[in-house]
Symmetry: C2
Subunit: 147 residues, 2 copies
């Protein structure tokens, strides 16, 4: 891999900023295969009034469409926030090769379950751009609270 | 409620039959509000090459679109097979009021996790049309094995 995890997390962060601009909880995701982005997504649950429209779900769907393949064993999913249980379930079903996330989600993250629900072959890297990803979420929720 | 759980599970089963006709794992789902069906779906993971295209996900998205509302607290989701972790996560996010499923899924069902990942207010009813739902899945997998 020529590009670093930070490089792609920055692009996921750009996706999160797009969600922020739309007044959505700012989470962004990209799916990468051989240093190429093959799927992107940002949280659109408010815009689409659909709880399933999390950034990861949209990025996985986009990547699978791109590859015309259900399984993403050779791909890496970058997401600015630790996936929830739904998204972790999707990541497991798609057998994503590597998951990289930024901020931890102590309230809704899948690791709260206390057991690994991902595919046993999925490599997990955490804490990439953690502070920036977390700060964006805190800024969003502070604005919501004050408005 | 004028109609019974069996009544709506039969319609979910009709959805499963549609999946079967498409050579998809035969699972079907409907979302019901006040005795009216407001969302339907059948498994389309092969057709759409998308692991997220489970019957429940499509039915939840359809129901939320219909209501222009993310939360389905007053709705019942009928599905012919016990939801997987991804779908249970979505059912939790949507705060579905009642979940009714037919066949148990001893390999991928969310109850394997050993803890309830649904919303605490979600009522769960199991075993409605269990034999028919299970028989359809067995028929599908036997055909796959023999082909």
């Amino acid at each position: 891999m020529f590009f670093s995890d930070e490089y792609f997390m920055k692009i996921a962060y750009q996706e999160a900023l797009q969600a922020y601009e739309l007044d959505e909880v700012p989470v962004g995701a990209v799916v990468v295969l051989n240093d190429q982005i093959i799927g992107k997504g940002h949280n659109l649950t408010q815009t689409l009034t659909d709880v399933t429209a999390h950034a990861e779900m949209l990025a996985i769907t986009a990547a699978s469409n791109h590859l015309t393949a259900k399984y993403l064993q050779d791909c890496t999913l970058y997401v600015t926030l630790e996936p929830c249980i739904m998204c972790a379930g999707a990541i497991a079903l798609a057998q994503v090769g590597k998951l990289v996330y930024g901020a931890h989600d102590p309230k809704r993250g899948y690791t709260l379950l206390g057991k690994n629900i991902l595919h046993p072959k999925t490599e997990v890297v955490t804490g990439i751009m953690e502070e920036e990803c977390k700060e964006l979420l805190i800024r969003f929720f502070n604005q919501k609270r004050d408005s």
